[in-house]
Amino acid sequence: MSEALVEVTNLVKHFPIKAGVLIDREVDQVRAVDDVSLTVGRGETLGLVGESGSGKSTLCRTVLQLIPPTSGSVRFEGQEIAGLSRRQLQPLRRQMQMIFQDPYASLNPRKRVGQIVGDPLRLQDVAAGKELRRQVQELLERVGLSSEHYDRFPHEFSGGQRQRIGIARAIALKPKLIVADEPVSALDVSIQAQIINLLDDLQDELGLTYLFVAHDIGVVRHISDRIAVMHHGKLVETGTADQVCEHPTDAYTRQLLASVPIPDPRESRARRRRAASAG
């Protein structure tokens, strides 16, 4: 593996469950991320799979320091970032960006596309005025939109186009790491492949590192170099994409893979016959 961009060691995130009328007391904890260690190599794609509630999104947010971890360490380019103040994190933010699941909820409906994509550049004092507009238009074209879309509002776009706007915003600051949390699961099948291919191209061009979260294992396997499987807040298996999908060692991973429908009636019937004769 190449040199590590992100190193997560014994990361823990617990959410307290509180009870009581006047005085809250903690009665239990949700162990959303429970002692997770992983590394993401520079330029690689690490796919994160698991069911809803397994802690995938919490892990992403904790890695980006959007929520503080309960304990453990997150190193970005060798620098410890867990426990840094907002001010200390500010210059690091431009290195790490996020693409969200729901392209309808993640774009402010009252802002124009130009402003949505340009805000990161403006806030980090990268560009202003005409130069800002030029850079944003370039970004729009880069993600397969047109520079004329600059003055439009999000509602004028389809789901796939909105996701492209979200991607343009994420790459605006030329980050090193992009965390993509279910970036295609809200999209139609015929559009999913377009977005996956776009993310692939951008990675080659900009040398991006992806932490890619999805529940669709087929999609994750396609885009990832390595895959990590999460279950109840813990990592149960990590390996190369083909290793995990073809020779899973963990019982939960095997169960997960066996549940993925095979889009091939003959194969699917054969698998059901095998399952029936086995048990």
């Binding site: 069911e51 809803s52 389809s158 789901g159 796939g160 186009q161 139609d188 099948v189 015929s190 559009i191 999913q192 492949a193 377009q194 996956i196 291919n197 692939d200 529940h215 669709d216 294992i217 087929g218 999609v219 396997r221 396609h222 994409a241 083909d242 999908c245 169960q255 997960l256 893979l257 066996a258 549940s259 993925v260 429908p261 095979i262 889009p263 091939d264 009636p265 003959r266 194969e267 699917s268």
Partner: protein
């Protein structure tokens, strides 16, 4: 296929008067019992809802025919439809959280469905029936869970409760609109097994609406592919997967990322986006996205059987079957075009 269909839909057209003019959501659909595949906006949900008279409104124009045995449902009055809904045709929806009322106990909601059709059912008998139904869809400890509220159920259990409700009046047809889309794959597998088992043990005709060809391959017998409000291809499960005739179907099959195959360098995609139904392209609706478009495509092709050996396999594409067999071979598998 039985000589007399249980449920048949012919030339169904549903138009909604919207701000942008009349919109053809469902156009000329004919089918018996099967899986309906398509993307959002392709008209699959509108088709299902129209069968139950759920799309009737001042701005809707509905033409064609929906027959349940001898009865024409499109002409039926609201009171008649109430008798059909639930009792003869049950329906389960995609999102089990929004289709259950959060302030009523799960059991009460099932009892309500039963009593709406049979006011003679007492509270005790209704409750016993609700427990029996929850048990039959695999809810553990049903006698206790019957008094739970929806939020106390997991996603899979809620969908099971919805199925129990759909089955409460022992309908002959069950319409399931994306029943597993909101669920995790392990739970999805369980729900699909349950639907399959009900289909066999109760002779329950099932119309499954989905965008997921994997789900289709797991349980469908017949498949109908919809695009921009029209059926573009219909046939048996194996015909659709192994001898697909419409380029859109090729594109759908080609863009799947399959776990049981080596992964391609690039994922084959269908370029462009589905057309707006307010201003559909002239001729074949898939024309703007189709790499195999030619002169004839400016006319709308009829949904016809074009293969003499498969009279039940129909499609809307002008290409000859020989050309299709050649064009759909992309890098050793079925696809629309080689990835750029």
């Amino acid at each position: 296929m039985s000589p007399q269909p249980l449920l048949s839909v012919a030339d169904l057209r549903v138009g909604f008067a919207t701000e942008g003019g009349r919109l053809q959501a469902v156009d000329g659909v004919s089918f018996e019992v099967l899986a309906i595949v398509g993307e959002s906006g392709s008209g699959k949900s509108v088709t299902a809802q129209t069968i139950l008279g759920l799309t009737r409104s001042h701005n809707a124009v509905i033409e064609g025919s929906v027959r349940l045995r001898e009865a024409e449902l499109l002409d039926a009055g609201e009171a008649e439809l109430q008798q059909v809904r639930g009792a003869q045709i049950g329906m389960i929806f995609q999102d089990p959280m929004t289709s259950l009322n959060p302030v009523y106990r799960v059991g009460s909601q099932i009892v309500e469905a039963i009593r709406a059709h049979d006011s003679g059912t007492g509270k005790v008998a209704g409750r016993a029936r609700a427990i029996e139904l929850l048990d039959s869809v695999g809810i553990p400890d049903a006698a206790r869970r019957v008094d739970d509220y929806p939020h106390e159920f997991s996603g899979g259990m809620r969908q099971r409760a919805m199925i129990a409700m759909g089955l409460a009046l022992e309908p002959e047809v069950l319409i399931a609109d994306e029943p597993t889309t909101a669920l995790d794959v392990t739970v999805q597998a369980q729900i699909l097994r349950l639907l399959e088992e009900l289909n066999r043990s109760r002779n329950l005709a099932t119309i499954l609406i989905t965008h997921d060809l994997g789900v289709v391959a797991e349980i469908a017998d017949r498949v109908l592919v919809m695009y921009a409000g029209k059926v573009v291809e219909q046939g048996s499960l194996d015909e659709i997967f192994y001898d697909p005739q419409h380029p859109y179907t090729w594109g759908l099959l080609g863009s799947l990322s399959r776990l049981d195959r080596p992964r391609p360098q690039r994922l084959p995609q269908i370029s462009g986006a589905p057309p707006s139904l307010l201003a559909p392209p002239s001729g074949c609706a898939f024309r703007p996205r189709c790499p195999h478009e030619f002169g004839k495509c400016t006319e709308v092709p009829g949904l016809e059987a074009r293969l003499p050996e498969a009279p039940g396999h129909c499609d809307r594409c002008w290409l000859s079957p020989e050309r299709k067999a050649m064009l759909r071979q992309v890098e050793g598998r079925i696809g629309l075009e080689a990835p750029s």
